[in-house]
Symmetry: D2
Subunit: 258 residues, 4 copies
Amino acid sequence: MDELHWKTSITDIKPNKICVRGYPVDKLMGKVSFAQAVYLILKGELPSEAVGKLIEAILVSSIDHGATPPSVLAARTVASTGAELNAAIAAGVLAISRYHGGAIEEGMKLFLEIDRRAEANNISFKEAVNEVLKEMKEKKKRASGFGHRLHTQDPRTKKLFFMAEELGLAGKFVRIALTVEEELANLIGKRLPINVDGAIAALLCELEIPPEIGNAFFIMARVPGLVAHIHEEKRRMKPMRKIHPQDYEYDGPRERDI
Amino acid sequence: MDELHWKTSITDIKPNKICVRGYPVDKLMGKVSFAQAVYLILKGELPSEAVGKLIEAILVSSIDHGATPPSVLAARTVASTGAELNAAIAAGVLAISRYHGGAIEEGMKLFLEIDRRAEANNISFKEAVNEVLKEMKEKKKRASGFGHRLHTQDPRTKKLFFMAEELGLAGKFVRIALTVEEELANLIGKRLPINVDGAIAALLCELEIPPEIGNAFFIMARVPGLVAHIHEEKRRMKPMRKIHPQDYEYDGPRERDI
Amino acid sequence: MDELHWKTSITDIKPNKICVRGYPVDKLMGKVSFAQAVYLILKGELPSEAVGKLIEAILVSSIDHGATPPSVLAARTVASTGAELNAAIAAGVLAISRYHGGAIEEGMKLFLEIDRRAEANNISFKEAVNEVLKEMKEKKKRASGFGHRLHTQDPRTKKLFFMAEELGLAGKFVRIALTVEEELANLIGKRLPINVDGAIAALLCELEIPPEIGNAFFIMARVPGLVAHIHEEKRRMKPMRKIHPQDYEYDGPRERDI
Amino acid sequence: MDELHWKTSITDIKPNKICVRGYPVDKLMGKVSFAQAVYLILKGELPSEAVGKLIEAILVSSIDHGATPPSVLAARTVASTGAELNAAIAAGVLAISRYHGGAIEEGMKLFLEIDRRAEANNISFKEAVNEVLKEMKEKKKRASGFGHRLHTQDPRTKKLFFMAEELGLAGKFVRIALTVEEELANLIGKRLPINVDGAIAALLCELEIPPEIGNAFFIMARVPGLVAHIHEEKRRMKPMRKIHPQDYEYDGPRERDI
């Protein structure tokens, strides 16, 4: 059964030695941030400090969005039946799919296609955007990463783009995303602002993250939020309660400065 | 159906405003690390810088442990069938249970019980440890968080305890864990060193994290590792391959300095 | 790595031959019911026709219970995010836990303990029931399998016990369950009728199913119901809708005769 | 929040009354098989006796296929960590995806497309099959439901088609499937026999099951098999063992007659 032998390039394990992408994990501890370690394990190399900071901001931006996203409702529903913590987290993760968090992967593919097309046809981003948006309209496809049920100007998008600019990491994909926002408004006569998924999509393109793991950034960021909701559900609520998806009230600390 | 109205104290959502435990998330971005945000969302308050650093080191310590832990095998097995990224992550999370990662929660409960007993009976930690270990032996229960199949001196434990000491966060629970290690050796005539789960358990007790969410730290830390394995599986391997649980080889970068 | 060699006694696979517990699966097809095959694969032997009929009735009894059980809400919530069918089913299964479906395993353990105690102490079922219920009251534990939020006389319980009687399969565990119902009423001054989980628990004890797989009968029975709800959600509802856990209306066919 | 009001046509729940698609569930118990109930809940009407028998045979055919399919390995891996029964089942279900079980949905879509094309273009099935197969070849797509790693003549396929014939349910979709098998052999010069997924796909087309729930038949059938493997893993094996995906031996009862 020798043909089952296989290879992996992620982590090397020997007695008393654990090397992640070549770096002893105990040397990483205390020296690199978790965000840098995330980049390392996914890309194979340590990021620059600036890239680490941007990843960190992306993770912080998506740590939670209150009690009503489907991932939270699925996790709370499962927690409410007395299930184990890991089962409730898993249920939450299963809800992070096409329409919830999934806009990152789809947004990345959209931006990469626009870039590819601009280069291949030697046209401007504006022209490429219009070409692609027209084709999507014909296929009745929506542009992922634009518009939000609640936020007309998502504070997370603004801060992410501001930080990317400051850190010197805002390049062509941020420009592409802004062009999509603009041309979309012209096309449909209504402003659909870049939402946090769209902003993360643009930035992950800048960082050359493969789109297939784009949604993973949302999942990695959101797991702590799910844990907080599961814990609150188990501590504060009665088992098997009916969980209303909207009619809830926030009773935590008032807005405060850091 | 007014009786369905409920309350949550985690995150307040208003148009263009998202406050996590009272802090606007866009103010947190760029100012606090993801590790600090994790503490904030779980405990309700921002941690001191020292506590943030310790949480960060805990998360980095457990980001991956190679290709053979059951969580990785479950995630790769599911990924190999062509399942979506979130389904494969969920399968990995489902494998982080009693015998894999679960030692954190059980270790925390053990250390908290020893502390409680020392205080209640006004006895030394050594006496309390011996009492508890004897009771466990009678019930044929093993002490969670001690011993490792491969590592006789886990580099992660050493670094975590070293950092806790440096940061002024090593208190009675670290002493209790070390006492358990010592008395366990006396009792069974064999050294079972504190493993990384045991070390994390002691430190989370120091940080007053509730034991019911102890395992969540392992899960939050390991999700990026799972993503790396799922991505490698999908990119590098053929679908539906038979995944040998041991016969693999590391072919990534050699050990290197940071 | 010879030490990894292992054994299984469930199904033997050879080229063009599949034997489940010794029986060629193509010989089982058309000859045994799915319920009989379920018993075969779990117990290792084909059931009598009577036992097959009882298993069948158990499976039919629990195929669905409308749109509000947490398993359905979890499955619909995940389906609503555009997740794959298997992810939505998995989320539903994760919600079948301690407080939802879990009463089967706990009920079985209760009935087995009462039987064990009656025999060990040479006392009547009534005496054993009272002993056990008193102990549970002291520990503030509830008897699993009794009482229902909605049904004061669950039609499924009645039919299951009637069929068990007809089929000659109602033995001491049905008597024990009825005794618990009676003594519970005396003890707490309020009738908590045996619910469907309690009835299934008693019958699975009669069939010598191990309690650890008691809940599996609920899961096997309910998966088709989950599939129907997921399919309806995807076909009939808009993605990402807010799913109210109570305020829904049935608009299918009116009650009809078979 | 009146706009949250919604409708479902699956099961009506009132005090002491449960009607599945209009039929009181206690009237269904003892009268219809689980297979008939599965059809009822998915399609909305009770099947004829013949259809019920075919569904039953489909479910029995796929109840288990030994220890090495990825769904079993995922379920055993999770079970081996000490996870709950429902978590292990969910992990198994997550592995029933595109390349494992997924051939049913894809096979159904293939057969429906061939039928649609034959009708639309007024050509024979043979011509339509050749058209579609050529297009698939150009896109480097494989025909789902044909060929098996181990079985050159799958006994389940043979029996399913034989039963469908006997029951008068083998119609145009069985002809289409057989035509695909034949033309595929001509096209690639190698016989890829219809496998069990392909056979089920053809039969579910005959029964007018929507393709989007085709894989659900595999999942519903396989859950009992997963439960048997999880139970064996927990009973017979040590926790956290390394599960070899091939090197196992069957030690159950020898082949026997029913």
